[in-house]
Symmetry: C2
Subunit: 151 residues, 2 copies
């Protein structure tokens, strides 16, 4: 093996548990930027293991790849990120996660009362949440659980 001129894509895949194809896809989405060796093959820094790990965690938190790319943009470009750097950009994730937990908790706390009851007026119902991921795939208003607009 070459004297440590960076990791090959296969090595990075083994280290992260990701598929090689996924790593190339992330590159196409702007999440990671390897350089090329003389033969044209991708080479990665060891710090990229951590970068991809961060991507996977952020995905579990519900962020889309474009969102993750934006968060990663907060890392320094001229040097290897320090633990402090990672901590800093993680703040945004934390807020995102707090919001999701709040939403789900609110939903759960109203589940019995709202689905079980005769409640048909939704504006006052906590299950009527225009946030979370229910949006994105647009399709209109989506009033929940009942005779919303009138009647």
């Amino acid at each position: 093996m070459a004297i440590s001129e960076g990791l090959s894509i296969g090595a990075l895949a083994k280290r992260t548990g990701l598929a090689v194809s996924a790593i190339r896809y992330y590159e196409a989405q702007g999440l990671i930027s390897p350089w090329r060796n003389p033969g044209g093959q991708r080479r990665y820094l060891r710090a990229d293991i951590r970068r991809l790990s961060f991507v996977m965690i952020a995905q579990q938190f519900g962020l889309s790849l474009p969102e993750i790319r934006d968060v990663l943009a907060g890392l320094p470009g001229n040097r290897t990120p320090t633990p402090q750097d990672w901590k800093r950009i993680s703040k945004g994730l934390r807020a995102h996660l707090d919001q999701r937990i709040d939403t789900l908790t609110r939903l759960r706390d109203n589940l019995d009362g709202c689905i079980g009851c005769g409640c048909l007026s939704l504006p006052k119902c906590a299950l009527y949440n225009p946030d979370d991921r229910a949006k994105s795939k647009g399709s209109g208003p989506r009033y929940l659980m009942g005779d919303a607009p009138d009647d």
Copy 2:
């Protein structure tokens, strides 16, 4: 208008906020079963407004359409579901939601410590969660945040 021989798909769409195309799609997925009028058009019961509302809420909870179809199968087929019926099938949703909240909370509580620190050994890290939705779209192990397998 005809003397209440059920709602047309357009009326149901307005009542639920869903797109007409989405309602037809849900029918194809077995989530709702209208009958047809003499002209071949779909007709729905008023109870179907609630049925579709339930579908939307369950989706916010993270259930897939097949999963929701299975939950709805717990409703009586021979009569209009009562509030008790809805309450009963909501129990499963509640458990599902509890699990998601637990997972996210665990993730959040470990975020600072794990991403911010020098932690590179993942088997002991709480961010290594093989549950949630991270699975499904298979692609392998996915070790998180570091030099997992060896080294």
